[in-house]
Amino acid sequence: MKYQIRLSGDEIRLMQEVKARSGVDLAKCYQCGECTAGCPMTPEMDAGPTKTLRLIQLGMEEALFDLNTPWLCASCETCTARCPNDIDIALVMDVVRQMARLKGKKIPVKEPRIFQDVFLKSVENNGRLFEPGMIAFYNLRSGDLFHDVGLGPKMLLKGKLPLLPHTSKNREKLREIFRKAEALEKEAGKKASEEAHDESGH
């Protein structure tokens, strides 16, 4: 046989780790393609959700983290709503992004990750999102200094941009949840890889 798919040992570790983090069992995916058919971002994606799930099933970690697909997912959840096997595909995309970050993987499309970072930084700093500050940091970090710069003055004129950040008395509480969640996700990573290691027969 020219090609052989092995689904034992090391190959199932990736699927086990995704399951430990998301609760989603990707062995249920029979590759019908419904998720990709409904995905609004497929024209920009390299693989689309169906193939992404296949790479996880096959334990192809390197190929998985090379994809732009999880980073282009807009979280519209059309895939999740339509999956005939009730797989929460959008959650899997979240978890792949999370795993890539925790494993320090190089991300093939940097802009969505920068946006995620500056958005959440603004929330952590102020308790509430400060839209103008967030966009300024985005432009600095992405190097696209004049991105959407034409929209800013128009929005200001319309009174659609606040000039100062709003804050909240619950900002510290919010930060505490951020810190705790960060500690927990690292712990979960260790546990997941240990469990996957045990179950894959080592």
Binding site: A90, I177, E185
Partner: protein
Amino acid sequence: MTYAYYPGCSLKGTAIDYHTSALALAERLGIELKEMEDWVCCGASPIHQRNPALASGVANLLLSLSEGISKDVAVLCAACYHNMKKAEVEMREDGKKRNEVEELSGIPFNPEVRTRHFLDILDKDYGLNALKEKVVKPLSELRVACYYGCLLSRPPEIAFDDPEQPMIMERILEAAGAETVSWSHRLECCGASHAVPLTDAVLRLVNDVLASARDAGADIIACACPLCQANLDMRQEGIRAKLGVAHNLPAVYFTQLLGIACGATGKQVMIEKGMVSAVPLLRAKNLL
């Protein structure tokens, strides 16, 4: 009728017109939207894209702020609604998940709390007959495309109407005298916050949505989400520049149209805030 109101960040900034028009409408209907104190950002999509558990933890904090006001939390933003409702439903149905979220947030979950979108409140609590009685300026001859986008009805567990074929916005606007159109892209994604990092993709998606509404004969699009409205309205100039298509189709909040129908002035619903102005159209229909 008093609700614990969670505006969320956009409604105090780019979507100030959504916030203001909803309050103007609520006042006219006798619904009290009492803003919860010291609320924080729900984190929208970036928070669960980074860490799904973090999103639930923050949502539980937000739900707890309703205490002392009402067990029903009124929400207007689709992303806020999505994050809070999803966490609420998961915690109510899954004891293990509930323990995890309570542990992470350090806050007990109150299973009585319900996240309610304002559309759902109007439809189920207030009722269309009562709404009809408040209409003083019917939206007659206004052909409206009701745009749901993604997060009001996905995942299906959080939907307050049929998740694949919701009609709630049509029902409500028709009660106010509008004519609604049948169109293909009412639940298609506008690209949401990808507007910043992946602008070209969003221009493509928004162009498709606008073209679909236009082809169906709509005069105007009604939105129930600040990001949908921002993309549909503010990206029309980019679409004209990059894709060479001039839509000139106003996209406003459903609360602005309902507010006007219930007697609010254009200023009271901040109708002038749109980049593609709805004012000429509404004047032509004698609504302003």
